[in-house]
Amino acid sequence: MKETLNLTLKVWRQKNANTPGKFETYEANNIDVHASFLEMLDVVNEGLALKGIDPISFDHDCREGICGACGAVVNGKPHGHLPKTTLCQLHMRHFKDNDVIVIEPFRSQGLPIVKDLMVDRSAFDRVIAAGGYVSVRTGSAQDANNLPVSKEDSDLAMDAAQCIGCAACVAACPNAAAMLFVSAKFSHLSLLPQGQVESKRRVKRMVYQMDKEGFGNCSNEYLCEAACPKGISVSNIARMNRAYFKSGV
């Protein structure tokens, strides 16, 4: 197997939220197949910096697939074509020599572009602030084992709680819905006895905030689950919808 690749990148460049953007073409040469996608962008950026060109801005931090900072649409797919993989964990061995790679930001009304590949996901924080928590003060908790939780429920709650808040689900959805993100948090808490006390109020407020942020609604395309790097199930959306109807809105 060839150990390096020569690639052509078509990258969305946009100076800031108020300036229109466009695609620019860059050559990425001698890219090691063992490099990650973001390391490939690092190499391109080093080259741009030496030529005095503003490097491509992109969000990233842990580079282990857990912080949820990174993400871009690569050849039409959020986080690229590999299933259950964040962009930082996508390695160049999954590309071929002379490939043309189109890289653009997650696009949605609820996620305005900040610069180049970076988007503003603060809407997600506002949705969580609208009830994505259990109202327990520090110091007021009972002994942890006073509240048994069945292993099945606990495991289901954990499956939902794995969401990294990257927003790939929104980017994948034709309606730019944030239902997978919102329902994952709702499910995590409503599956546990700790979260049930406030469940009705929570679902009403979180859905209200979600709509207010400009996200669309679910029409059962399931593209969100396919794009989710943590494989969060769309059954969470059904769980949230049931709770929403029962909440007496």
């Binding site: 800031n16 030496l50 060109i53 842990c62 282990e64 924080d125 110091g139 942890a144 979260g195």
Partner: protein, 636 residues
């Protein structure tokens, strides 16, 4: 200034209880009149901001990430310790305290560690109440496991994502307070300077990373929870954004920096594979339960592992430490990997790796059992390396992981600057010279949920804090200093990139102040770092401008601080001519080649005071051990 640790008197088990009673309180109606700045939203920062908000303080929380949920605590895999003794296997607060003091190689304060162990149980209660989905048994109660060689099962975990779940718990508590209006959140802000008025911490200067604007915020107290400095080594398991800037800026304003040379090197990481590499990925050390570590017996043996016959393999950990074998503590496993690679017996394309081989376990237990235990880790390894660990041995090598050193704080978590409090990995306090597995999460949350809410009240109640705002000349002066510095970086227009300097610094640090250190190497580093720093300020290129989102500029500022801080780290390592914890000084070893501590000369915390344009001054806080007697660790 002499260091006063303010450790309360009385028996160790009563100190914290008594101290809490002696602390002054702030009247509930007065709390909202006090503003507290919290920088950093990891476990320590988010839990502190949330808890202070609940108490009624007016809290301003800052993070450089786009959301507080992304702080690097999120990446912790293994678990969190607590002395619940649910498994009935003999654990207790005292045993957790004892193990942690001993594990820290007798370089931590007994009183702090006892308090940490005492609080550990409340942390688990709090997190479960928030909905943290810890692993459970079929009866619905919490499951525990043994971790990092502990002889009791005291570790609580949420699959391999314990840090993520604890952080999301703290983040949800934080967002609850944002919802209630007691916490105001400032994301994408990087702290650039600490502001002192009359010698007291009264605010910060930040750069708004989206607009580039320099902003000032005033408060009655400042809390730093800004994490560790592992990225001074360039390659580490830390997130790309982790940096020393906030603590270093505070240090330059008068906060002493304690034990900077205490860094933890984790033995099981995926090895370095190329120039372009940006970070190292940790593989859980639980892999050593079933994997056997080996290298070829002969130097330069480049055959593929399967072609190396059994008698030509050296299972060096099993050979040297027959009773612990592959399960020796982190520092020993790391150091021995370096020794065999230095001997020319390392494997892989770089020769800087050792095998971690599961063939015997797969033969003995079957592939299904190994898959059930480590399936997700094997998948992660294959994703990154492209090699299948079921078929060929993994390659691993040690990497910088955690930093035990940090800003010096007293028992109240206050630094040598009045009003400046430091929590979590950013302070130096509880892990001594070596942190035990599953202790970092415990300490971050102990500081944030259960210590600072008490001690900061005492400070606010006792200290006269005249009203002031950001129009005060001290803020204007600090803003100007930040602006000048940023402009200076942008106007160098040199020929080398920021990452290029960072990489060179990192390799220097790793070569001379990494797993093994000696006087000659440290002295060499002390010459090279200032030279590199000088070149940086003449020859770095930073594109773009100040008034916009500029990631190169962000990195340049952080690397500039690492170039100053690295020198202090090396200086500290040079002065401490003993081996202890994760810090192996080659001149100080036993006849068998093991680490030799020197309690007569070095049983103290080394806290450095910054001197403008001069050599930093060392202050010593002597450590006394009344409960746990000083012994040399042995794993033979």
């Amino acid at each position: 200034m002499p260091l006063d640790s303010k450790i309360p008197g009385g028996p160790i088990s009563e100190k914290w209880t008594q101290h809490k009673f002696n602390l002054k309180l702030v009247n509930p109606a007065n709390k909202r009149k006090h503003t507290v700045i919290v920088v950093g939203t990891g476990l320590a920062g988010a839990s502190a901001a949330a808890s202070l908000g609940e108490l009624g303080y007016n809290v301003l929380a800052f993070c450089f990430q786009d959301s507080p949920r992304r702080a690097h605590s999120i990446a912790a895999q293994g678990g969190i310790n607590a002395a619940k003794n649910y498994p009935n296997d003999g654990d207790s607060v005292y045993r957790l305290f004892y193990d942690t003091v001993k594990g820290g190689d007798f370089r931590a304060r007994e009183a702090n560690v006892y308090r940490l162990a005492e609080i550990s149980n409340s942390i688990i209660d709090q997190c479960v109440a928030q909905g943290v989905p810890f692993a459970r048994e079929y009866g619905g109660l919490l499951d525990n496991r043994s971790f990092g060689g502990a002889q009791v099962s005291r570790t609580f975990y949420a699959r391999g994502q314990t840090g993520q779940q604890l952080l999301l718990g703290a983040y949800s508590a934080l967002m609850k307070e944002v919802d209630h209006g007691s916490v105001k959140l400032f994301s994408r802000r990087e702290m650039m300077e600490l502001v002192l008025v009359d010698g007291v911490a009264r605010g910060i200067i930040v750069r708004n990373l989206v607009t580039g604007k320099i902003e000032s915020y005033a408060a009655d107290a400042v809390v730093l929870a800004t994490g560790g400095y592992g990225n001074v080594y360039f390659l580490s398991t830390n997130a790309m954004g982790c940096n020393v800037t906030a603590t270093w800026r505070a240090h330059k304003k008068g906060a002493y920096f304690a034990n900077p040379c205490y860094t933890q090197i984790h033995p099981t990481c995926i090895p370095v594979h190329g120039e372009y590499q940006s970070k190292l990925t940790l593989m859980s050390e639980s892999l050593r339960n079933d994997g056997r570590v080996w290298v070829p017996s002969n130097k330069g043996d480049k055959r593929p592992p399967a072609s190396i016959p059994e008698e030509e393999r050296d299972y060096y950990l099993e050979r040297k430490y027959p009773s612990f074998g592959n399960l020796v503590p982190r520092d020993l496993a790391s150091r021995n990997a370096k020794i065999v690679c230095d001997e020319g017996r390392g494997v892989g394309s770089t020769g800087l790796a050792v095998y971690l081989d599961f063939a015997d376990s797969i033969k003995r237990l079957g592939k299904e059992v190994i898959e059930a235990r480590y399936g997700n880790l094997f998948e992660m390894y294959e994703r990154i390396s492209g090699s299948d660990p079921y078929k060929e041995p993994m390659m691993i090598y040690p990497a910088v992981h955690y930093t035990m050193g940090g800003l010096w704080v007293d028992y109240n978590l206050m630094s040598t600057i009045p009003g400046l409090h430091v929590l979590g990995e950013a302070n130096f306090s509880d892990h001594g010279a070596n942190r035990l597995g599953a202790s970092a999460l415990m300490q971050g949350l102990a500081d944030g949920y259960f210590i600072i809410p008490y001690t900061i009240g005492d400070y606010l109640a006792r200290t006269p804090l005249p009203k002031l705002d950001t129009q005060h000349p001290a803020f204007k002066e600090a803003e100007q200093a930040v602006t000048d510095r940023v402009n200076k970086l942008l106007n160098i227009n040199g020929k080398r990139t920021v990452d290029d300097f960072h990489r060179e610094l990192g390799f220097l640090m790793w070569d001379h102040c990494g797993m093994g250190r000696n006087e000659a190497g440290l002295k060499l580093a002390l010459e090279k770092i200032p030279a590199l720093r000088e070149e940086f300020w003449k020859n770095v290129t930073v594109t773009g401008s100040v008034g916009e989102l500029n990631q190169t500029l962000e990195r340049a500022g952080r690397v500039a601080d690492f170039l100053e801080f690295g020198e202090l780290l090396v200086r500290d390592a040079l002065h401490r001519s003993e081996s202890c914890g994760g810090h192996f000084r080659e001149e100080s070893q036993t006849p068998e080649g093991e680490a030799q501590r020197n309690d007569d000369a070095f049983c103290y915390v080394g806290a450095w005071e910054y001197q403008e344009g001069g050599t930093p001054v060392l202050h010593k806080e002597h450590l006394t051990f009344d409960e746990v007697s000083l012994t040399q660790r042995s794993y033979k």
